[in-house]
Each structure stands twice: as C-alpha cells, then as structure tokens.
Symmetry: C2
Subunit: 323 residues, 2 copies
C-alpha cells in the first residue's frame, strides 16, 4: 500500500516510516522540519520505495498535491510540547487542529479515506477513572495540547460519519526510545550531564506516569491497522489506547535515569503535586482493547527509560539540538 506519513522526520513518524518500509509498503514522507530531523530519515532515503516531501500542513495546496496517489494517511505531525502550551496558545490550535482539518480536506480532495492518527492520553485531562479506558467519562481538558488533539479526534470521527472515512485513533502515553528528543528524560539527562551533583525535578516527584517504547508503539499501530485492499462505503471509527499496563513515579524514573548514567546526583524537588499548569498527576491508560487483539509491548517502563538514556548517550547531537 502507498502510505502518506505526516511528521515523517519526527520521533514517532520516522520510526513508523522505517517499519512501514520494512513491511513492504511504499511511503511518502511529509515534514516541515520545524522539529523533524533529516538524519532520522537516512535509512529510509536509501530505500527506493520512500519519497520525501518538504511541506507544511498549513499549506493546503502543497499538502493536497503531495498526497496524490496515496491510499492511506498516517497523520503524525503535531506540536507535541504539552508543557508550554499556555505560553503560546495559538500554536496547538494551528499546528494540531487546523493542520488536521487540512489533512482531512486534502484526503477528501484525493479520495483517500483511510487515516491513522497519533492522539494522546492527554485528551482524558485528569481522568476520574484509572486505568483510563477509551470510553472514560466525557473529558475535561486541562491543556491546550489535549484540547487540540481532542478537537482533531472530533473532526476525524465526524469525517468517518459524514464522508465514509475509516479512521483509527491512537491515544498514546508518553513515548520513549530511539530518536526521542523532547520530554523529561532528556531534561533530566541534560541536567545531570551539566551538573552531576544535583537534579532539579518539577513537582514533588510523586506524579505517576506511564511510558511506552517507540518500537512497541509502532508495532501496536501496525498490529491494529487494517491494510485490507477494499473498504466498505460506510465509515468506521476506532480508538485504541497505547501504553504498557504499568506506571512509575517521577522519582522512580529520575532514579532509573541516574542509574543508567552511573551517577547519583542529589534530587531536588520544586514541590507541589504537579510539574506545571496542566500537568496530570496520574496518567495510566487501560490498554485492554488493543491487548484484546493480541498485541503486547516488549519493553517495561524501566527498560524503555534506560534504552532512551543509552540512545541519548550515543547521540550527543540530539541532546544539544533538543528543545
């Protein structure tokens, strides 16, 4: 199948491209390189079944032209900076909500009806049910990132109803592993590199989070995606949480990072039960739906964190380049 991947040079997008190519698909990668790294596509670019287009989802005409001839879209481009959303409120709206609308309209223009979308566990806000299932109570958004991703989900599901699209939404926990360049592991890693004596952690360290290795993430997506040749006329909309059946505290994860680095800095907590406004003190998704299909992650949270630290250690350029 010929697949159009937005955010192809991103963390998850580039891992997805590699795996799609390995599985024999043709891939057209699309990225504006605002945060994407061309180096992440070095392997893909050696493959004659891969084509790379540089472009922005907000340029509708280019996007629609780029998609021509594809049969499916994996829409993985996004602003993924949850924490700084309130410093720049238009960003999530533009780069996530408006961008997704353009992707859907470009698909409609090209008669492409199959889409996989990278959403997030943030859409649950501070979920009243933990572990949180896909049909948790009507969410109350606590971040502009979560609000924008929920808006994207709403658009995709309406397109399934109104235009016969076939959409699969993946709500991720935080993803770790090779090519990870944004989040607490890199923050902690960089701090400890700069001053091995101490590590400053936002909050009181009690926040509980769940993590998934990017290889498990991509495997979960491919495991549950329907690549069948024909699609029924009426639309279909599916949602899967993607994560491990576990969580850890920020304190634990700081310890694992330091362990892997072979250092024992003093950990200084800034205090409070969350790291920033909109930070969710407890994220843990119920993955029963996708596990019911037979998928299982290979990496524990600890292994995912330690593997990420090893990748950072082997790629100092990434630590330097990371936002």
């Amino acid at each position: 199948m010929r697949i159009f991947v937005t955010g192809a040079a991103g963390f998850i997008g580039s891992n997805l491209c590699d795996r799609l190519l390995a599985d024999g698909h043709d891939v057209c990668g699309w990225d504006n390189f605002s945060t994407g790294q061309s180096g992440f596509l070095d392997e893909a670019l050696k493959n004659p079944r891969f084509r790379l287009l540089r472009g922005d989802n907000l340029d509708f005409c280019d996007l629609a032209a780029g998609m021509a001839g594809c049969e499916m879209v994996c829409h993985f481009a996004a602003n993924a900076d949850v924490r700084r959303g309130f410093e720049w409120p238009e960003r999530d709206l533009q780069q996530n909500t408006m961008a997704t609308f353009n992707v859907l309209e470009a698909m409609r223009k090209n008669a492409i009806r199959r889409i996989a979308f990278s959403s997030t566990g943030c859409v649950y806000g501070e979920a009243p049910v933990i572990p949180t299932p896909e049909d948790a109570p009507f969410p109350i958004q606590t971040s502009l990132y979560g609000a924008s991703k929920a808006a994207c989900e709403g658009l995709i599901s309406a397109y399934c109803e109104g235009y016969g699209f076939h959409g699969t939404i993946y709500r991720f926990v935080s993803i770790l592993g090779e090519r990870y360049m944004h989040g607490h592991v890199i923050d902690f890693y960089r701090q400890v590199k700069e001053h091995p004596g101490f590590l400053t952690v936002l909050g009181d360290g009690s926040q509980r989070k769940s993590y998934l290795h990017v290889r498990d993430c991509v495997a979960g997506i491919l495991y549950s995606t329907d690549f069948g040749d024909s699609l029924p006329t009426n639309g279909k909309f599916r949602i899967f949480n993607l994560g491990v059946d576990d969580f850890c505290s920020v304190r634990q994860s700081a310890q694992w990072i330091c362990e892997e680095m072979g250092l024992t800095p003093e950990i200084r907590f800034t205090g409070g039960d969350r790291g920033w406004i909109g930070d969710n003190p407890f994220t843990y998704l119920d993955t029963g739906r996708i596990c019911g299909l037979g998928w299982r992650p290979d990496f524990s949270i600890r292994d995912a964190i330690r593997s990420t630290v090893r990748w950072l250690a082997a790629n100092p350029w990434a630590v330097k380049a990371a936002r």
Copy 2:
C-alpha cells in the same frame, strides 16, 4: 455587571440580552448579522443600558476593542446549522472553533475571566447512555457542528485551567419559542403553508428529540450563572445540560405543529431511522445537575412547539427570511 453578548441579534442571544437588561445588567451586544435579525433588538435598543456593536468574531482586533470594559462574556454566536455541515466543512471550524478561540483571546487581552458558553447536546454524538448525563462516556462526534462545539468546550476548559478563567458550558437540546428561525418546526410550518395537503418528513418519523423553550433556556442560564462580584484566582469549569425531562418523536411533533395550524396534511416519510447524515435518532439529556440547583422549565415540549408555531404565524416575515 457589564456583560458582552456575542450573537446578540440571534435567537437565543437576543432573548438573553432582553432578560439581562430586565435584571438590571449593562449589556454590550455583538453580532455580525450573518443570521442575526436587527428587529430582535428593537426593545433592547430602547434601553440606555444596551449598546450594540456590529462585528465578526473572526476580526480579532475589533472584537478585543469591543469587549473593553466588560466583566463577563456570554458567547452565543455560532453557526447553528447542524444539518448542512458536511456540505461546507470549513464553516463550523471557522465560525465556532476559531471564533471561540478569538473570544477567549480577546477576553485574556481585556483581563475578563468569566464566560458562559452555548454548547449543544450534539457534543454527545449518538450517546450510549440515555438520558445522557454531563459525564457520559467519551463522545464520538457524528457532525461537524458537534465536533466544533466540543472543540470550543475543550478550549474553554483549558483556559480555566491555564489562565484562571471561570467558564460555564450549557449543553442545550433544540431550543424553540419566540424568534426561532431555524429547524424542523419552521420547515414543517412552511411546507404546510405552501401545500396544506401534505407534509414531507425526513426519516421515518421515529427519531426521538427533546426541546426546550427559549424562555426556560435563558432562565436556566441565569439561574445557574454566578454573578458574584469577586472571583477566586484559580479557575472553575462547570457544565450543565439544559432541556426538559422528556422527549417526543418527530411524528408527534409534526402532529402538534399541524394541530396548532388547524390543518391535517398527509404526512409522507422519506424513510430511514435518521433525517440526514449525522442526525441523532435519539436525543434526551439528563438535566439532574441543573435541576439539582432548583431550576425547573415551565414549558412542556408540546407547549414549546405550539408556542413556536404561534410566533411563526404572527411573524410571517420570519418564515420568509428563515434559511
């Protein structure tokens, strides 16, 4: 209190302005008159505490300037045409989602933190729980209108979390009564006026819907709005369903309309369990939360429908002007 009302010349907005003025508030009405009717503000304009500004929510600078000096925003401007959303997919995104973002940013610029928002029961999609409570399962959108209103709710709740806003969301069933100019009552009324022998009804007539009279709607909003002078620094986000504790079939409602008109047309059903793509075959909201505050609607569904027909009969210009 000085209150900024968007959609002031609209159906619900103009009724709200009248009621706010009657309660002694100062009101600044804002409307782009795309569907608003200046005649709806005839009474308000006689009141020295009312000021009318013509402007569009998509013109951010005008909007922010117009809001200056107000203490609260009632954001009631919207594209309210659920049915034709898939014919013009950009409309709900622009006039609802983007417009609401502008309203929120204009508030932030003016240090206004209090907002009441007209949402809709459509945000529940085809709810698996009926009557549907505010914390129903995570919704799956079936219309672009519902998707856009859910996106607005997400933005407002994130602004409450991130910027200390105080937001109250009202999820309405369909509203009827004086100044009603869009929906099935006017469609049926116009048809029977044009050809008293028959009435064509979309679907098989079995769709079950709930309706609320606009006077009850406005009363419910004012009943549950906190007009207190001071606001705590941390934000607060509340959601209320607004409706009657009842529903009726489209067949019944057609009969009540014809009864009130004194005519007995043959009713012809087009067939199928819904009137159009995205039509919800059963809408019935659980209003226990707002009723728990002591509010009760005065109008039954039948009375609301008959009162609407009487208003249409007394205002033939409205029937002519209605979309």
